[in-house]
Subunit: 155 residues, 2 copies
């Protein structure tokens, strides 16, 4: 269990030329209650179960507990999840000393692209690439758990 | 992920002389939704995270996935759980080829004692001790997750 410090931004320009890796991610939620989300994720051949608390006042810090599990177990748990699944491709983009995780959503969230950066502390500086748009850190509707219940296509 | 076949009974007589072990259990729920409960349990020095589906038609079979985790992680996850905690002592009572888990509840569920037996298949025979009362298999209000929300003292 650790506190994860992340800031999240919309992506409004072309980041693709700078991406050095891509991975398909599918995930569902055993609980999408923001105070205690329980996520089941499949990333390539890996499975994960992840528990997150709600953000602090700034929204940048959230408790997070994660355990890797066999992909087959993750698939069985996904079948138990709340209806709906998040389907996205995660692109990794290096910018200075940091790496942005740029999530391009599909399905009911097609058209939404967000970038997350993990920081050592909330005030840490970082390079802002030209494709980085408005900050949405802490906005609950951008939580993946919320996107499952109220997807981008309905906004 | 396996299917757990269990039958559950009220306890209406004195089982204590037949018990051969006791252990204190405290547990909370990251999700108490019956279709996909996510339980955090502390049992002695062990911690566990457990996901269960809802029962089948008879209520005796439920999907269950469990992973042991360090006690310290379980304590941190308990702090994230829904309000309320289940506090009980589990007594083990052997009867013929089977072992009953007899759960004696405290706190808001004081006065409730239930016995569970795990079976290889739903029709498997077993000895019924004199202290075994009415069967409550599959009755959702006896799920520990439901007892947290609507405890025995309110019945």
């Amino acid at each position: 269990m650790a506190v994860e410090i992340e800031r999240k931004f919309l992506v409004t320009g072309d980041f693709r030329a700078e991406a050095h890796a891509q991975q398909r991610i599918t995930q569902g939620y055993l609980s999408s209650v923001p105070e205690r989300t329980v996520r089941v994720r499949i990333k390539g051949e890996q499975g994960f179960i992840t528990v997150k608390g709600i953000g602090n006042a700034s929204g940048a810090s959230r408790y997070e507990w994660e355990r890797e599990i066999p992909r087959a177990e993750a698939e069985a748990l996904l079948a138990l999840c709340e209806p709906g699944v998040i389907d996205k491709v995660r692109h990794l983009v290096t910018a200075g000393a940091h790496t942005f995780e740029v999530d391009e959503f599909f399905g009911d969230n097609q058209g939404l692209i967000v970038a997350e950066i993990e920081l050592g502390h909330e005030d840490e500086d970082f390079l802002r690439p030209a494709w980085l748009g408005a900050e949405v850190t802490g906005e609950v509707r951008y939580y993946n758990s919320a996107l499952m219940q109220n997807p981008f296509k309905n906004w």
